[in-house]
């Protein structure tokens, strides 16, 4: 079904039908114009597609093949084996890491969506003049390097950071609060803030596309604002919510820099383990196996989220 949808989409974009030629089979129209191919659209969609296939798809295929070989000493033996996948499934530490990554990912994604919805809603429905400024500010925040933002959070959450200084200064605590940093809390807070703009943008675009007539109709039919929101706005915005949620989830569950810098000794995620396998341990086959196990996990999560979102969504 996905394949049909994609083919239909591509064909509708790439091939232009002449407007003045009816397509009904019973018309005997001898002046049927050949459909012209829209080269502009083909290039616009084709170039990133080729880029992704060559620079992302092909290397991932190579790694997929690696995951079926194994490491002996410092050389990779090119013989087919499933031992890496068996290792991932049977080793309690990898299962624990995958579980932890999914949990942290889901928490962060939920938090990000919950925090970004009001912002996107305000931008779409409440702000008229300030809308573009807010949008610009958000995009501007994306200009700063990811690592710089992680370090900024170190300064905020640390023992002598902004939060602790305020708490100590106001006398609310006598000792600096230690669990703000080098814990899972720090990882979740930092990644939520980093991925907020990435979540707000699709939500904003979806909310902007909700025709105000629909909301007016709901009001005319007697719905109060809360009902309007729950029954009309929210279901129509589900595609955006799903997109934001999945972005935040995948990016968090796979992250390894923030856990390495802010996670302390007990918040390592699966990304750290994959990084070690590819780096220190030089065990590319095992690293690839862990990677593709995570791909399967993500596919399962996508499927579950997609199913539940479809139940909540309304075809606009």
């Amino acid at each position: 079904m996905v394949k049909r949808a994609v083919t239909h989409l591509l064909r509708s974009v790439a091939v232009k039908r002449s407007k003045d030629v009816p397509v009904e089979p019973w018309t005997m129209n001898v002046n049927v114009k050949r459909p012209r191919i829209r080269w502009g659209a083909v290039v616009t969609i084709g170039s990133p597609l080729i880029y992704m296939l060559v620079l992302f798809g092909a290397p991932m295929l190579v790694f997929f093949i690696y995951s079926f070989w194994y490491l002996k000493g410092y050389t990779i033996v090119r013989e087919w084996t499933l031992q890496n996948y068996v290792e991932v499934v049977t080793n309690a530490t990898y299962m624990k890491l995958i579980g932890r990554s999914i949990t942290v990912g889901l928490i962060t994604a939920c938090l990000t969506v919950v925090l970004s919805y009001p912002v996107a809603y305000a931008m779409a429905f409440r702000l008229q003049k300030e809308r573009e400024t807010v949008l610009m500010l958000m995009i501007l925040s994306l200009f700063s390097c990811y690592l710089v933002r992680v370090y900024a959070w170190k300064t905020i959450l640390g023992n002598s950071g902004v939060i602790n200084t305020i708490l100590l200064g106001l006398g609310i605590v006598q000792q600096p609060v230690e669990w703000l940093i080098y814990t899972q809390f720090a990882v979740i807070v930092t990644l939520t803030s980093v991925f907020l703009p990435i979540c707000i943008l699709p939500l904003y675009s979806v909310l902007m596309n909700i025709h105000p007539n629909l909301l007016e109709a709901a009001r005319d039919l007697g719905a109060n604002p809360t009902m309007t929101f729950l029954k009309v706005t929210l279901p129509l915005s589900m595609p955006g919510v799903m997109a934001g949620f999945l972005f935040a989830f995948v990016l968090t569950a796979g992250d390894y820099i923030t856990p390495a810098l802010l996670g302390g000794s007990n918040a390592q995620l699966i990304g750290n383990s994959i990084a070690s396998q590819f780096g220190t341990i030089s065990n590319w086959p095992l690293g690839s196996a862990i990677t593709f196990s995570m791909v399967i996990v993500f596919a399962v999560v996508f499927g579950l989220v997609g199913l539940s979102a479809r139940r909540l969504a309304v075809r606009g």
Binding site: G73, L97, K154, N159, I181, T280
Partner: protein, 382 residues
Amino acid sequence: MAKATKVSRREFLVASAALAGASMLTLRHAVPALADTPTPQPTPDLEKLRGTTINYLGWEGYDYAGALKPLTETYDITVNSTYGGNNEEIFSKLKAGSAGQYDVISIYHGTIEALYVNNLIQPIDTERLTHWNDLYPAFRNQPWQVREGKVYSVPFTFGNTPCTYNPEFVPDGIESWNDLLKPEFKGKIVTLDVANQELMVAMLAVGIDINRFVTREELQQAKEWYLKLKPQLRAIVPSYGEMADVLARKEAWLTSGSWTAIIGWAREKGVELKYVIPKEGVAGWCDNYLIPVGANVDAAYAFINQMTSPEGARELAVYLGQGMTNSKVVPLLPPEMQAEFADMDAVLAKTPFPPDPPLEPEDPSIASNAEWLQTWEDIKIS
């Protein structure tokens, strides 16, 4: 006479401004760290490198610009550095296919075997090393340095991995590695994410001799000790720079194994740290410069010769607070460092260079490098 040397007023002003500017420039650069640093005489090798780039890969700090100044300024050479947070990162960058990308690398003595086995380094012609014969004899024939009669690395500095602490919170440091397990240090210790250094600390704490290959049971004992240390940790950081940052922000009070260079970095951030060698001893290490396959060898030899020269080594020694392998550097050191390194035999006796675990041990009871790394991963995840 009237026509011969007629200089307009403007020309004279321009010339004298240029002269003033030039003399100010030379004055600024003419106050070297050492009063009588000789400018290297232009040699054929170095002239070839004028205006080029030397690509360095290795530990941060070992490309210290201050030590390279006579080379970079006189010959207008740029040093392009890539850093690795630990030895395995340096190794994997090379292994990932970088023939020709780097001219000179620095790495710890234990990783040299892996580089050699993977054909990533080339033999060094000691004839081209100006200061080879000034190195202490111990640094010219170590087992990890010489393979099949050829020298593969130039040791330029050595040191150990002591415990660094903040005297503001820990006035006297620690006496034994087991002091790290004390309840008052809970959540106050920062360690580096590097397997062999941390596991050797654990082995020393338990009383295992690290100067020979270690068995699996001993590795397991080290793991159990480290799991007792884990609740005491504030963070396991990915690099020494991070470690200095954590100590400077006073998030942690002390480290397990560390590098004395972090004392210099923390000092820049306003915190004065000290180091101590606990009674069980400490693992020594020796950092070397090597030439990878595909390097520009002229650039590599120029770099190495500058860094192992007495003047260059002196700059490095002061910046890093470590011992240097060139015997001629000791008289150039500041007085407090001279006292520390005056008796080199005693110093070398205190810093053994333990072997890294073998890649494929011949004796099956010996723990292999892979097992050390996997043990460390298990410790981190548990």
